[in-house]
Amino acid sequence: MKHLWMIAYDISDPKIRRTISKHLENHGARVQYSIFECRLSHKQQQQLQQRLNSLLDTFDKIRWYPLCKHCERSVYWQGNGQAVETNDYYLL
Protein backbone atom coordinates (compact mmCIF):
# COMPACT_ATOMS: atom_id res chain seq x y z
CA MET A 1 0.00 0.00 0.00
CA LYS A 2 1.34 3.38 -0.89
CA HIS A 3 0.72 6.48 1.14
CA LEU A 4 1.12 10.12 0.27
CA TRP A 5 3.68 12.09 2.23
CA MET A 6 4.29 15.80 2.27
CA ILE A 7 7.99 16.38 2.93
CA ALA A 8 9.28 19.83 3.89
CA TYR A 9 12.93 20.66 4.45
CA ASP A 10 15.14 23.42 5.77
CA ILE A 11 18.76 22.79 4.80
CA SER A 12 21.48 25.42 5.27
CA ASP A 13 24.29 24.07 3.09
CA PRO A 14 23.41 24.56 -0.60
CA LYS A 15 25.26 21.43 -1.71
CA ILE A 16 23.44 19.22 0.77
CA ARG A 17 20.17 20.95 -0.10
CA ARG A 18 20.75 20.16 -3.77
CA THR A 19 21.47 16.49 -3.03
CA ILE A 20 18.40 16.13 -0.86
CA SER A 21 16.35 17.93 -3.47
CA LYS A 22 17.53 15.47 -6.15
CA HIS A 23 16.65 12.46 -3.97
CA LEU A 24 13.17 13.82 -3.42
CA GLU A 25 12.72 14.56 -7.13
CA ASN A 26 13.45 10.89 -7.75
CA HIS A 27 10.61 9.94 -5.46
CA GLY A 28 7.86 12.42 -6.13
CA ALA A 29 6.91 15.94 -7.13
CA ARG A 30 8.15 19.33 -5.99
CA VAL A 31 5.19 21.51 -5.09
CA GLN A 32 7.09 24.46 -3.60
CA TYR A 33 10.75 25.39 -3.20
CA SER A 34 11.37 23.12 -0.26
CA ILE A 35 8.22 21.02 -0.17
CA PHE A 36 7.59 17.72 -1.97
CA GLU A 37 4.66 15.33 -2.25
CA CYS A 38 5.76 11.70 -2.55
CA ARG A 39 3.66 8.57 -2.82
CA LEU A 40 5.63 5.81 -1.11
CA SER A 41 5.26 2.29 0.14
CA HIS A 42 6.37 1.62 3.70
CA LYS A 43 9.66 0.16 2.50
CA GLN A 44 10.33 3.04 0.12
CA GLN A 45 9.56 5.54 2.86
CA GLN A 46 11.99 3.86 5.25
CA GLN A 47 14.74 3.73 2.65
CA LEU A 48 14.27 7.39 1.75
CA GLN A 49 14.22 8.42 5.38
CA GLN A 50 17.48 6.60 6.04
CA ARG A 51 19.17 8.07 3.03
CA LEU A 52 18.17 11.63 3.90
CA ASN A 53 19.07 11.15 7.54
CA SER A 54 22.67 10.37 6.66
CA LEU A 55 22.99 13.70 4.84
CA LEU A 56 21.63 16.07 7.49
CA ASP A 57 23.78 18.63 9.30
CA THR A 58 23.31 19.81 12.92
CA PHE A 59 20.59 22.41 12.39
CA ASP A 60 18.93 20.93 9.30
CA LYS A 61 15.29 19.91 9.44
CA ILE A 62 13.03 17.64 7.44
CA ARG A 63 9.37 17.19 8.36
CA TRP A 64 7.18 14.36 7.11
CA TYR A 65 3.41 14.86 7.02
CA PRO A 66 1.29 11.84 6.12
CA LEU A 67 -1.76 12.71 4.01
CA CYS A 68 -4.75 10.37 4.07
CA LYS A 69 -7.01 10.12 1.02
CA HIS A 70 -9.45 12.63 2.46
CA CYS A 71 -6.72 15.14 3.25
CA GLU A 72 -5.18 14.58 -0.13
CA ARG A 73 -8.46 15.44 -1.83
CA SER A 74 -8.78 18.58 0.31
CA VAL A 75 -5.44 20.05 -0.68
CA TYR A 76 -5.82 23.33 -2.49
CA TRP A 77 -3.48 26.16 -3.41
CA GLN A 78 -3.46 29.85 -3.96
CA GLY A 79 -1.48 31.58 -6.60
CA ASN A 80 0.69 29.73 -9.03
CA GLY A 81 0.10 26.11 -8.19
CA GLN A 82 -1.02 22.96 -9.93
CA ALA A 83 -2.26 19.50 -9.12
CA VAL A 84 0.31 16.77 -8.74
CA GLU A 85 0.03 14.36 -11.62
CA THR A 86 -0.87 10.89 -10.49
CA ASN A 87 -0.72 8.22 -13.16
CA ASP A 88 -1.95 4.66 -12.99
CA TYR A 89 0.25 3.97 -15.99
CA TYR A 90 2.35 5.88 -18.51
CA LEU A 91 1.55 5.69 -22.18
CA LEU A 92 4.12 7.43 -24.39
Binding site: R39, L40, K69, Y76, W77, E85, T86, Y89, L92
Partner: protein, 376 residues
Amino acid sequence: MTTAQIETTSTHTQKSSQNNQNTHDPRLKTLYLTGYGTTLTKKQEQFVVKQEGKVIKQIPAIHVDQIMLFGAIQLTTQVMHYCLKHNIPIYFLSSTGSYYGILDNHDTHPIHLHRQQYLKAENPQYALKIAQHMIKGKLSNSRLLLKRLARSQNKTQHRESLQIAAQNMSAYIKQLNTATDLDQLRGIEGIAARNYFQALINITPHEWNFNGRNKQPPTDPVNALLSYGYTLLFHNTYSFIKVAGLNPHIGFLHTPRRGHPALASDLMEEFRAVIVDAVIFNLILNNKLTPDDFQHPEKKGEACHISKAARNILIRHLETKFNTPITHPNSGFKIDYRRCIEHQTNHLASLIRGHIEETENQETENSSTYQPAIFR
Protein backbone atom coordinates in the same frame (compact mmCIF):
# COMPACT_ATOMS: atom_id res chain seq x y z
CA MET B 1 -5.59 36.82 -8.99
CA THR B 2 -5.56 34.94 -5.70
CA THR B 3 -9.34 35.16 -5.22
CA ALA B 4 -9.97 33.78 -8.67
CA GLN B 5 -7.53 30.99 -8.04
CA ILE B 6 -9.29 30.01 -4.81
CA GLU B 7 -12.58 29.64 -6.66
CA THR B 8 -11.09 27.50 -9.38
CA THR B 9 -8.96 25.46 -7.02
CA SER B 10 -11.94 23.49 -5.78
CA THR B 11 -11.88 21.76 -9.15
CA HIS B 12 -8.18 21.14 -8.71
CA THR B 13 -8.70 19.35 -5.45
CA GLN B 14 -10.04 16.55 -7.58
CA LYS B 15 -7.25 14.44 -8.92
CA SER B 16 -6.47 16.10 -12.21
CA SER B 17 -5.27 12.97 -13.91
CA GLN B 18 -8.20 11.43 -15.74
CA ASN B 19 -6.95 7.94 -15.16
CA ASN B 20 -6.86 7.82 -11.39
CA GLN B 21 -10.49 7.43 -10.42
CA ASN B 22 -9.90 4.35 -8.28
CA THR B 23 -9.68 4.17 -4.56
CA HIS B 24 -7.09 1.47 -5.00
CA ASP B 25 -3.43 1.85 -5.78
CA PRO B 26 -2.72 0.25 -9.12
CA ARG B 27 -0.94 -2.97 -8.31
CA LEU B 28 1.48 -2.73 -11.21
CA LYS B 29 2.40 0.53 -12.86
CA THR B 30 3.34 -0.01 -16.43
CA LEU B 31 5.38 2.27 -18.64
CA TYR B 32 4.25 1.73 -22.21
CA LEU B 33 6.56 3.11 -24.90
CA THR B 34 5.09 3.02 -28.36
CA GLY B 35 6.39 6.04 -30.28
CA TYR B 36 8.77 5.59 -33.18
CA GLY B 37 12.12 7.25 -32.47
CA THR B 38 11.71 7.07 -28.70
CA THR B 39 14.71 6.59 -26.43
CA LEU B 40 14.62 5.53 -22.80
CA THR B 41 17.54 6.70 -20.68
CA LYS B 42 18.16 7.15 -17.00
CA LYS B 43 19.18 10.17 -14.95
CA GLN B 44 19.98 9.14 -11.38
CA GLU B 45 16.75 7.45 -10.34
CA GLN B 46 14.46 8.84 -12.97
CA PHE B 47 13.61 7.32 -16.29
CA VAL B 48 13.93 9.91 -19.03
CA VAL B 49 11.86 9.43 -22.16
CA LYS B 50 13.15 11.26 -25.20
CA GLN B 51 11.52 11.70 -28.54
CA GLU B 52 13.97 12.66 -31.28
CA GLY B 53 16.45 13.97 -28.75
CA LYS B 54 13.95 16.09 -26.78
CA VAL B 55 12.89 15.08 -23.30
CA ILE B 56 9.17 14.43 -23.23
CA LYS B 57 8.81 12.92 -19.79
CA GLN B 58 10.77 12.20 -16.64
CA ILE B 59 9.41 9.50 -14.39
CA PRO B 60 10.76 8.57 -10.96
CA ALA B 61 11.81 4.94 -11.27
CA ILE B 62 9.94 3.97 -8.11
CA HIS B 63 6.71 4.70 -9.98
CA VAL B 64 7.42 2.01 -12.57
CA ASP B 65 6.92 -1.71 -12.00
CA GLN B 66 7.20 -3.01 -15.54
CA ILE B 67 8.12 -1.61 -18.92
CA MET B 68 6.63 -2.59 -22.27
CA LEU B 69 8.47 -1.59 -25.41
CA PHE B 70 6.54 -1.69 -28.66
CA GLY B 71 8.78 -1.59 -31.70
CA ALA B 72 12.24 -0.05 -32.06
CA ILE B 73 12.55 1.80 -28.75
CA GLN B 74 16.17 2.42 -27.84
CA LEU B 75 17.43 1.69 -24.33
CA THR B 76 20.69 2.52 -22.66
CA THR B 77 22.60 -0.18 -20.87
CA GLN B 78 22.30 1.87 -17.66
CA VAL B 79 18.51 1.55 -17.89
CA MET B 80 18.86 -2.20 -18.38
CA HIS B 81 21.19 -2.52 -15.41
CA TYR B 82 18.84 -0.52 -13.24
CA CYS B 83 15.81 -2.56 -14.25
CA LEU B 84 17.63 -5.84 -13.71
CA LYS B 85 18.79 -4.69 -10.32
CA HIS B 86 15.35 -3.50 -9.23
CA ASN B 87 13.26 -6.32 -10.67
CA ILE B 88 11.52 -4.21 -13.28
CA PRO B 89 10.88 -6.61 -16.17
CA ILE B 90 11.26 -5.09 -19.63
CA TYR B 91 9.07 -6.71 -22.27
CA PHE B 92 10.15 -6.44 -25.89
CA LEU B 93 7.30 -6.47 -28.37
CA SER B 94 6.91 -5.62 -32.03
CA SER B 95 4.98 -2.48 -32.88
CA THR B 96 1.95 -4.68 -33.48
CA GLY B 97 2.27 -6.46 -30.17
CA SER B 98 4.06 -9.69 -31.09
CA TYR B 99 6.20 -10.87 -28.27
CA TYR B 100 9.98 -11.02 -28.74
CA GLY B 101 11.22 -11.61 -25.22
CA ILE B 102 11.89 -10.27 -21.76
CA LEU B 103 14.85 -8.71 -20.03
CA ASP B 104 14.74 -10.57 -16.79
CA ASN B 105 17.28 -11.12 -14.01
CA HIS B 106 16.10 -14.64 -13.09
CA ASP B 107 16.36 -13.45 -9.53
CA THR B 108 13.27 -14.84 -7.88
CA HIS B 109 14.40 -18.41 -8.18
CA PRO B 110 13.51 -20.47 -5.19
CA ILE B 111 14.85 -23.64 -6.73
CA HIS B 112 12.93 -25.82 -4.33
CA LEU B 113 9.65 -24.37 -5.52
CA HIS B 114 10.59 -24.77 -9.16
CA ARG B 115 11.45 -28.41 -8.51
CA GLN B 116 8.07 -29.02 -6.89
CA GLN B 117 6.40 -27.28 -9.81
CA TYR B 118 8.22 -29.47 -12.28
CA LEU B 119 7.37 -32.67 -10.41
CA LYS B 120 3.71 -31.76 -10.09
CA ALA B 121 3.44 -30.83 -13.75
CA GLU B 122 4.91 -34.21 -14.67
CA ASN B 123 2.26 -36.00 -12.60
CA PRO B 124 -0.61 -36.62 -15.04
CA GLN B 125 -3.35 -36.79 -12.38
CA TYR B 126 -2.21 -33.65 -10.66
CA ALA B 127 -1.78 -31.72 -13.88
CA LEU B 128 -5.17 -32.86 -15.16
CA LYS B 129 -6.91 -31.74 -11.97
CA ILE B 130 -5.41 -28.29 -12.14
CA ALA B 131 -6.05 -28.01 -15.87
CA GLN B 132 -9.70 -29.02 -15.37
CA HIS B 133 -10.21 -26.26 -12.85
CA MET B 134 -8.49 -23.69 -15.01
CA ILE B 135 -10.67 -24.55 -17.96
CA LYS B 136 -13.72 -24.51 -15.71
CA GLY B 137 -12.73 -20.96 -14.77
CA LYS B 138 -12.26 -20.03 -18.40
CA LEU B 139 -15.59 -21.44 -19.59
CA SER B 140 -17.49 -20.04 -16.59
CA ASN B 141 -16.17 -16.55 -17.15
CA SER B 142 -16.81 -16.85 -20.88
CA ARG B 143 -20.39 -17.78 -20.08
CA LEU B 144 -20.61 -14.77 -17.78
CA LEU B 145 -19.53 -12.45 -20.57
CA LEU B 146 -22.10 -13.94 -22.94
CA LYS B 147 -24.81 -13.35 -20.33
CA ARG B 148 -23.64 -9.77 -19.68
CA LEU B 149 -23.62 -9.02 -23.40
CA ALA B 150 -27.10 -10.56 -23.72
CA ARG B 151 -28.44 -8.18 -21.09
CA SER B 152 -27.20 -5.16 -23.03
CA GLN B 153 -28.46 -6.27 -26.46
CA ASN B 154 -31.45 -4.54 -27.99
CA LYS B 155 -32.06 -6.99 -30.82
CA THR B 156 -34.04 -9.98 -29.60
CA GLN B 157 -32.35 -12.45 -31.92
CA HIS B 158 -28.93 -11.37 -30.69
CA ARG B 159 -29.99 -11.63 -27.09
CA GLU B 160 -31.40 -15.10 -27.63
CA SER B 161 -28.35 -16.28 -29.56
CA LEU B 162 -26.12 -15.19 -26.69
CA GLN B 163 -28.36 -16.79 -24.08
CA ILE B 164 -28.38 -20.09 -25.94
CA ALA B 165 -24.61 -20.00 -26.25
CA ALA B 166 -24.40 -19.34 -22.50
CA GLN B 167 -26.58 -22.36 -21.82
CA ASN B 168 -24.36 -24.47 -24.08
CA MET B 169 -21.36 -23.33 -22.05
CA SER B 170 -23.01 -24.70 -18.90
CA ALA B 171 -23.26 -28.09 -20.59
CA TYR B 172 -19.60 -28.02 -21.61
CA ILE B 173 -18.58 -27.08 -18.10
CA LYS B 174 -20.37 -30.15 -16.75
CA GLN B 175 -18.53 -32.30 -19.31
CA LEU B 176 -15.13 -31.25 -18.03
CA ASN B 177 -15.25 -33.78 -15.20
CA THR B 178 -15.53 -36.62 -17.68
CA ALA B 179 -12.16 -35.90 -19.29
CA THR B 180 -9.57 -38.51 -18.33
CA ASP B 181 -6.58 -36.88 -19.97
CA LEU B 182 -5.42 -33.50 -21.19
CA ASP B 183 -6.25 -34.25 -24.82
CA GLN B 184 -9.89 -34.93 -23.99
CA LEU B 185 -9.96 -31.81 -21.88
CA ARG B 186 -8.58 -29.71 -24.72
CA GLY B 187 -11.17 -31.28 -27.00
CA ILE B 188 -14.02 -30.05 -24.80
CA GLU B 189 -12.36 -26.66 -24.50
CA GLY B 190 -12.06 -26.42 -28.28
CA ILE B 191 -15.75 -27.07 -28.85
CA ALA B 192 -16.71 -24.63 -26.13
CA ALA B 193 -14.45 -21.97 -27.67
CA ARG B 194 -16.08 -22.38 -31.07
CA ASN B 195 -19.52 -22.04 -29.45
CA TYR B 196 -18.36 -18.91 -27.65
CA PHE B 197 -16.79 -17.21 -30.65
CA GLN B 198 -19.72 -18.08 -32.88
CA ALA B 199 -22.01 -16.22 -30.47
CA LEU B 200 -19.70 -13.22 -30.61
CA ILE B 201 -19.57 -13.37 -34.40
CA ASN B 202 -23.37 -13.25 -34.50
CA ILE B 203 -23.52 -9.96 -32.64
CA THR B 204 -20.57 -8.26 -34.34
CA PRO B 205 -21.67 -5.84 -37.08
CA HIS B 206 -20.96 -7.10 -40.56
CA GLU B 207 -18.44 -4.40 -41.50
CA TRP B 208 -15.93 -5.80 -39.00
CA ASN B 209 -15.57 -8.94 -41.11
CA PHE B 210 -15.23 -11.10 -38.03
CA ASN B 211 -15.66 -14.76 -38.89
CA GLY B 212 -13.77 -16.60 -36.21
CA ARG B 213 -10.55 -16.57 -34.30
CA ASN B 214 -7.37 -16.38 -36.36
CA LYS B 215 -3.84 -15.48 -35.35
CA GLN B 216 -0.26 -15.50 -36.58
CA PRO B 217 -1.06 -13.16 -38.07
CA PRO B 218 -4.52 -11.84 -37.20
CA THR B 219 -6.14 -10.92 -40.51
CA ASP B 220 -9.08 -8.79 -39.42
CA PRO B 221 -9.53 -5.96 -36.91
CA VAL B 222 -11.29 -7.95 -34.18
CA ASN B 223 -8.61 -10.60 -34.19
CA ALA B 224 -5.87 -7.96 -34.21
CA LEU B 225 -7.46 -6.41 -31.13
CA LEU B 226 -7.86 -9.76 -29.40
CA SER B 227 -4.22 -10.72 -30.03
CA TYR B 228 -2.99 -7.37 -28.77
CA GLY B 229 -5.19 -7.52 -25.70
CA TYR B 230 -4.16 -11.09 -24.86
CA THR B 231 -0.50 -10.08 -25.18
CA LEU B 232 -0.95 -7.38 -22.55
CA LEU B 233 -2.82 -9.81 -20.28
CA PHE B 234 -0.03 -12.32 -20.81
CA HIS B 235 2.66 -9.89 -19.68
CA ASN B 236 0.86 -8.81 -16.58
CA THR B 237 0.42 -12.47 -15.67
CA TYR B 238 4.09 -13.16 -16.35
CA SER B 239 5.13 -10.42 -13.92
CA PHE B 240 3.12 -11.95 -11.12
CA ILE B 241 4.48 -15.42 -11.84
CA LYS B 242 7.96 -14.01 -11.38
CA VAL B 243 7.06 -12.28 -8.14
CA ALA B 244 5.52 -15.51 -6.83
CA GLY B 245 8.78 -17.34 -7.51
CA LEU B 246 7.28 -19.80 -9.99
CA ASN B 247 8.88 -20.89 -13.23
CA PRO B 248 6.86 -19.39 -16.10
CA HIS B 249 7.81 -22.15 -18.52
CA ILE B 250 6.36 -25.07 -16.61
CA GLY B 251 2.66 -25.27 -17.24
CA PHE B 252 -0.12 -27.70 -16.35
CA LEU B 253 -2.67 -27.14 -19.07
CA HIS B 254 -0.30 -25.88 -21.75
CA THR B 255 2.61 -28.16 -22.50
CA PRO B 256 6.07 -26.71 -22.02
CA ARG B 257 7.39 -25.66 -25.37
CA ARG B 258 10.57 -23.88 -26.31
CA GLY B 259 10.13 -20.14 -26.04
CA HIS B 260 6.62 -20.38 -24.66
CA PRO B 261 5.96 -19.47 -21.02
CA ALA B 262 3.27 -22.13 -20.61
CA LEU B 263 2.33 -21.22 -17.05
CA ALA B 264 1.50 -17.66 -18.09
CA SER B 265 -0.85 -19.07 -20.73
CA ASP B 266 -2.42 -21.31 -18.09
CA LEU B 267 -3.06 -18.55 -15.59
CA MET B 268 -4.49 -16.17 -18.18
CA GLU B 269 -7.23 -18.53 -19.30
CA GLU B 270 -9.83 -17.60 -16.71
CA PHE B 271 -9.27 -13.89 -17.33
CA ARG B 272 -9.38 -13.70 -21.11
CA ALA B 273 -13.13 -13.23 -21.39
CA VAL B 274 -13.80 -10.93 -18.45
CA ILE B 275 -10.86 -8.64 -19.06
CA VAL B 276 -9.81 -8.64 -22.71
CA ASP B 277 -12.94 -9.77 -24.58
CA ALA B 278 -15.13 -7.57 -22.38
CA VAL B 279 -13.08 -4.44 -23.19
CA ILE B 280 -12.80 -5.18 -26.89
CA PHE B 281 -16.47 -5.92 -27.46
CA ASN B 282 -17.38 -2.84 -25.47
CA LEU B 283 -15.21 -0.76 -27.81
CA ILE B 284 -16.69 -2.41 -30.89
CA LEU B 285 -20.36 -2.52 -29.92
CA ASN B 286 -20.33 1.05 -28.61
CA ASN B 287 -18.52 2.39 -31.66
CA LYS B 288 -15.53 3.63 -29.71
CA LEU B 289 -13.50 2.02 -32.46
CA THR B 290 -14.50 1.50 -36.09
CA PRO B 291 -13.07 -0.62 -38.92
CA ASP B 292 -11.50 2.61 -40.26
CA ASP B 293 -9.06 2.58 -37.35
CA PHE B 294 -7.30 -0.35 -38.98
CA GLN B 295 -5.06 -0.98 -41.92
CA HIS B 296 -6.70 -3.86 -43.74
CA PRO B 297 -4.56 -6.48 -45.48
CA GLU B 298 -4.41 -6.37 -49.25
CA LYS B 299 -3.67 -10.02 -49.75
CA LYS B 300 -5.30 -12.95 -48.04
CA GLY B 301 -3.42 -14.22 -45.02
CA GLU B 302 -1.67 -10.93 -44.37
CA ALA B 303 -1.83 -9.11 -41.07
CA CYS B 304 -4.37 -6.46 -40.17
CA HIS B 305 -2.68 -3.56 -38.42
CA ILE B 306 -4.12 -1.42 -35.66
CA SER B 307 -3.61 2.33 -36.00
CA LYS B 308 -1.60 4.05 -33.31
CA ALA B 309 -4.60 6.00 -32.05
CA ALA B 310 -6.69 2.82 -31.79
CA ARG B 311 -3.90 1.04 -29.94
CA ASN B 312 -3.72 3.83 -27.41
CA ILE B 313 -7.47 3.66 -26.89
CA LEU B 314 -7.20 -0.09 -26.34
CA ILE B 315 -4.33 0.28 -23.85
CA ARG B 316 -6.21 2.98 -21.92
CA HIS B 317 -9.37 0.91 -21.67
CA LEU B 318 -7.46 -2.22 -20.72
CA GLU B 319 -5.57 -0.35 -18.00
CA THR B 320 -8.84 0.99 -16.64
CA LYS B 321 -10.23 -2.55 -16.67
CA PHE B 322 -7.17 -3.99 -14.92
CA ASN B 323 -7.60 -1.41 -12.18
CA THR B 324 -11.40 -1.73 -11.91
CA PRO B 325 -12.49 -2.61 -8.39
CA ILE B 326 -14.03 -6.06 -8.15
CA THR B 327 -14.68 -8.50 -5.36
CA HIS B 328 -12.55 -11.61 -5.64
CA PRO B 329 -15.12 -14.44 -5.71
CA ASN B 330 -13.24 -16.89 -3.49
CA SER B 331 -11.64 -14.68 -0.88
CA GLY B 332 -14.25 -11.92 -0.75
CA PHE B 333 -11.50 -9.30 -0.90
CA LYS B 334 -12.45 -6.07 -2.58
CA ILE B 335 -9.55 -5.64 -4.98
CA ASP B 336 -9.20 -5.15 -8.73
CA TYR B 337 -8.78 -7.44 -11.72
CA ARG B 338 -5.02 -7.16 -11.73
CA ARG B 339 -4.81 -8.13 -8.09
CA CYS B 340 -7.14 -11.03 -8.84
CA ILE B 341 -4.54 -12.32 -11.30
CA GLU B 342 -1.93 -11.90 -8.60
CA HIS B 343 -4.14 -13.70 -6.09
CA GLN B 344 -4.65 -16.66 -8.41
CA THR B 345 -0.93 -16.86 -9.13
CA ASN B 346 -0.08 -16.86 -5.42
CA HIS B 347 -2.84 -19.41 -4.82
CA LEU B 348 -1.25 -21.76 -7.35
CA ALA B 349 2.19 -21.20 -5.83
CA SER B 350 1.00 -22.09 -2.34
CA LEU B 351 -0.73 -25.21 -3.70
CA ILE B 352 2.50 -26.33 -5.31
CA ARG B 353 4.41 -25.61 -2.13
CA GLY B 354 1.90 -27.51 -0.02
CA HIS B 355 1.84 -30.61 -2.18
CA ILE B 356 4.13 -32.64 0.06
CA GLU B 357 1.47 -32.55 2.80
CA GLU B 358 -1.21 -33.47 0.27
CA THR B 359 0.25 -36.78 -0.88
CA GLU B 360 0.61 -37.86 2.71
CA ASN B 361 -3.02 -37.09 3.47
CA GLN B 362 -4.69 -38.54 0.34
CA GLU B 363 -6.25 -35.35 -0.95
CA THR B 364 -9.27 -34.86 -3.30
CA GLU B 365 -10.74 -32.37 -0.89
CA ASN B 366 -11.99 -29.35 -2.74
CA SER B 367 -9.87 -26.98 -0.73
CA SER B 368 -6.60 -28.60 -1.70
CA THR B 369 -6.93 -28.10 -5.41
CA TYR B 370 -6.83 -25.05 -7.67
CA GLN B 371 -9.85 -22.79 -7.24
CA PRO B 372 -10.34 -20.58 -10.29
CA ALA B 373 -11.69 -17.04 -9.94
CA ILE B 374 -15.22 -17.42 -11.29
CA PHE B 375 -16.94 -14.05 -11.36
CA ARG B 376 -20.66 -13.43 -11.03
